[in-house]
């Protein structure tokens, strides 16, 4: 049994309060102070200790493997405020026993936009990884683990060997998530699936004292892994699981430190990177995904980002501004627009849903309400639209009813 531990590293550019009266003022949309404070705090609590544990395990245990994806917005902020975090990632990559994955540079919803935006953002990300780490990834993960037949065709066109997807019943139709599959729409693209129960045991449940399995030890977890039938177990989660979502006091870092040893003791378990799993395993069959699925919430659809009217209207507005922004070709305008397309901004606009989901959304949002978040987002977008129109030489309407 191959264990694929894949961790996702991302931080968005959070917006400052950009008021309606600030339209046209030239103020920046992003809250540098807060982004910096948050980033350096998370670096202390999570990135430095957890990356250190992984680097140590890779350097001392020849069988250990890990896979990472690092967004462009993360890399920019890390280079600005915590360059040693980038150095740690470089140290991990240098062991040769870690995979890096491709995705959009801005962790954006570009895959829902027409035209070349998605390809451009994936290219930008690929270039960033080549520059920093000298690596060209062979596998693609889409924002929020989004996956569909159309995305598999995109991956094929971009010459990716594989994609990641949620190992959800709706996609599997009775098949087991513990095998490699391929995309029905693009058979050359292998599909490596997230085992959501075992992943969420760490990602969501680890520190929950109401959970009947609390406290989770590495031995117990390795035992669960060893009795799971199949060829590969995809443990995919946010990197921030280790030290941020679960604080160090919950024992999560000790768990991570103890896991390679516990896995080794089991006798039947081994580690693989995403690239290795895709290269060595044979696909068990083809999976169809006519509708886009994701790794979020109970429904595993795009409802977390585009489920309500506020989210859809914000996205539609962003789409329209994007047409103008791309036409200007102005790097500053394009950069701001792409940062506004980061999926996190739409996540903050979530209003409904079930108890557990709403709790997760509120945990990630720093706004008082989704209405606050929407007004702020739309102000920034409206201002960006004015800048784009201005750049194109069109006078923006001074009145209400713009976007």
């Amino acid at each position: 049994m191959n264990i694929v531990l894949y961790l996702h590293m991302h931080q968005p550019y959070r917006l400052a309060r950009f008021r309606y009266v600030d339209l046209g003022s030239g103020r920046t949309y992003f809250d540098e102070g807060r982004n910096r404070t948050l980033f350096t705090g998370i670096a202390d609590r999570c990135y430095r200790p957890a990356l250190g544990i992984l680097a140590h395990a890779l350097e001392t245990r020849p069988e250990f493997r890990v896979s990472l994806s690092v967004t462009g917005t993360f890399l920019e902020q890390a280079e600005a405020w915590a360059p040693d975090v980038v150095a740690l990632i470089r140290r991990i990559v240098a062991t040769g026993r870690a995979s890096l994955l491709s995705e959009t540079y801005y962790h954006s919803l570009a895959f829902l936009l027409p035209g070349n935006e998605l390809a451009d953002e994936v290219d930008a990300h690929r270039t960033a990884l080549q520059d920093r780490f000298g690596i060209t990834p062979t596998a693609l993960r889409m924002t929020e683990l989004a996956y569909s037949d159309a995305l598999a065709r995109f991956a094929e066109a971009q010459r990716f060997r594989g994609m990641l997807a949620e190992g959800w019943e709706g996609l599997l139709q009775g098949a087991e998530p513990t095998h490699l599959y391929c995309a029905a729409s693009a058979p050359t693209v292998a599909l490596l699936l997230r085992h959501y129960r075992l992943s969420d045991d760490i990602g969501f449940r680890f520190s929950s004292r109401e959970w009947s399995e609390w406290p989770l030890t590495a031995e117990k977890y390795a035992h669960w892994l060893s009795i799971t039938p199949g060829e590969v177990i995809g443990l995919f989660m946010d990197f921030e699981t280790f030290g941020e979502h679960h604080p160090a006091s919950s024992g999560i870092l000790d768990f991570l430190r103890a896991l390679p040893d516990a896995v080794a003791r089991s006798g039947t378990l081994g580690w693989a990177t995403v690239d290795e799993a895709i290269a060595t395993l044979r696909p068990r069959g083809a999976l169809e995904a006519p509708r886009t699925i994701s790794w979020a919430d109970q429904n595993r659809d795009l409802g977390a980002w585009l489920g309500n009217d506020l989210q859809r209207s914000a996205f539609e507005a962003a789409k329209k501004v994007g047409v103008l922004a791309r036409r200007t070709g102005d790097p500053a305008i394009l950069r701001d627009w792409r940062r506004l397309l980061t999926s996190d901004h739409f996540y903050y606009l979530y209003t409904g849903g079930h108890g557990a989901d709403l709790g997760v959304h509120q945990y990630f949002s720093s706004y008082g309400s989704p209405f606050d978040a929407y007004a702020n987002y739309m102000n920034a977008l409206t201002d960006l639209r004015r800048r784009a129109l201005d750049r194109l030489g069109v006078a923006p309407p001074p009145t209400v009813g713009g976007v």
Binding site: Y20, D309, L310
Partner: protein
């Protein structure tokens, strides 16, 4: 010294329950010893004659019926009789206090409770089942010179007048038994406390606002003392927002354990805001008093007006600030964009609230802000100042610092500019404002009565 009966009962208890278990030794206490206790003996033995007689007596004894569990949520087992000391009551000066008392009395009556309502105004009042109105003076006497609850100033009512009202309340001995005395705001606190003591019944006080707030920090000592008398004398103090409760703790030294928050409510509105219309209206509706911060509304309007040429700003209501506000609007250059419509009737009020695009309540001080709740019930998104109790009920309002003109202007602009925001906030706000209505508020009030009067305990 144990009596024979005590010994017998003790033995019977052991027969029924088994003997007390010997202490279990844990391994840590005494290593190496068995950790399981010997099983309790079966307890079978012979009974002496006296024990048999006692057993026979005990077996014929029946458990008394358990007292009914307090069903506070759905009304208490028997109807309560409330002596309610108010001030204004429709049709006399129905401000927030009058509305609250009226709705509360209606719901209490509907639940089958009796209310004896005390007011200085002689009526006539619309008859309500189970409700008796009491006022000083005989029928046919001219109405006394009492002002509305929010028009009280050191010149409009004199302490001797208030003393006479309170002395009259103190002397009340209603012909029906009273379970609880409930006083609203400061007007009758001294009398209510005296009558509660005389009748030996608990006192509940509802604070709708404080003198500090109404006077914008220049309180009249006379009123403060009467408020303090109520807060000190009451067994429970109901407030219309958490914020107001905190103020009672810090300024009136009220023990937090005495305070209960019961928000105001609105009746469901059949009229809904028309969300799409050619001309948008931004509405302020309320008294034109300094504490309401209407000048902030005008200054914010002046900032937004150039960006929203099709928007009309409406100020509805009357009050002492009117001349200053009209002058200010002209001074800000928005005289033609602001419409002062004066005092409005109930029907006009409903029309205004349901046709507004945005409702603004920029009060410097606003214990609750019932007008904002009415706007929300009509599906109109509301912007309120942060102190307002409405912001404690719903997340679907924009809460702004009362002095932050730019932020008020921005919130107005955002709601006018983004229809999806207006729609989503309107819908969520409507739901939040109607989730709990006056029936629920009255039930919560009865819950407080129940806390102090224990009506289900049969004397």
């Amino acid at each position: 010294m144990a009596t024979a009966g005590g010994r017998i009962r003790g033995r019977l208890r052991r027969l029924i329950r088994g003997r007390p278990r010997p202490k279990v030794m844990r391994p840590a206490d005494e290593p190496g010893r068995a950790t399981t206790a010997p099983p309790p003996r079966s307890g079978r033995g012979t009974l002496r004659r006296a024990e048999l007689a006692e057993l026979a007596r005990l077996l014929t004894w029946r458990r008394p019926p358990a007292p009914a569990a307090p069903r506070v949520a759905l009304g208490v087992p028997r109807s309560l009789s409330v002596l309610m000391v108010g001030w204004e009551f429709p049709p006399f000066h129905s401000g927030g206090l009058g509305v609250h008392c009226h709705e509360l009395v209606l719901e209490l009556s509907r639940m089958g409770h009796r209310v004896t309502f005390v007011t200085p105004f002689p009526g006539p009042f619309e008859p309500i089942a189970n409700v008796t109105f009491l006022s000083p003076g005989g029928p046919g006497d001219p109405p006394p010179p009492y002002p509305g609850a929010y028009d009280v100033t050191p010149t409009s009512v004199e302490p001797p007048t208030m003393d006479r009202y309170n002395a009259w309340i103190a002397g009340l001995r209603p012909s029906i038994p009273i379970d609880v005395i409930h006083v609203h705001d400061w007007f009758g606190t001294v009398g209510a406390r005296a009558v509660a003591r005389a009748l030996g019944r608990p006192l509940v006080m509802t604070v709708h606002s404080t003198e500090y707030d109404r006077s914008l920090g220049h309180p009249w000592r006379e009123i403060l003392d009467r408020e303090q008398a109520g807060v000190d004398g009451a067994d429970r103090v109901i407030v219309v927002s958490r914020h107001l409760g905190d103020q009672l703790v810090t300024r009136y030294r009220a023990p937090p354990s005495k305070i209960r928050v019961i928000y105001n409510a609105v009746r469901p509105s059949e009229r809904l805001a028309r969300l799409e219309q050619s001309r948008s209206m931004v509405l302020y509706l309320g008294r034109l008093a300094a504490m309401k911060g209407v000048d902030t509304f005008l200054r914010a309007a002046a900032r937004v007006a150039p960006l929203a040429p099709d928007t009309l700003f409406v100020v509805a209501g009357e009050g002492p600030e009117y001349p200053r506000l009209v002058t200010l609007a002209a001074h800000l250059g928005i005289g033609d964009r602001v419409l002062f419509v004066g005092k409005v009737t109930e029907d006009e009020r409903a029309v205004l609230l349901s046709s507004a695009s945005v409702f603004v309540l920029p009060s410097v001080v606003e214990p609750f802000g019932i007008a904002a709740l009415e706007a929300m019930a009509a599906g109109v998104p509301a912007i309120v100042s942060k102190t307002s109790g409405v912001a404690e009920i719903s997340g679907a309002v924009f809460a702004v610092d009362f002095w932050d003109i730019d932020e008020f202007a921005s919130r107005i602009g955002e709601l006018l500019e983004y229809p999806a925001l207006r729609q989503a906030m309107g819908e969520t706000g409507r739901w939040d404002s109607l989730k709990e209505g006056w029936p629920e508020r009255a039930l919560q009030t009865v819950g407080v009565y129940a806390e102090v009067s224990r009506p289900w305990v049969v004397p």
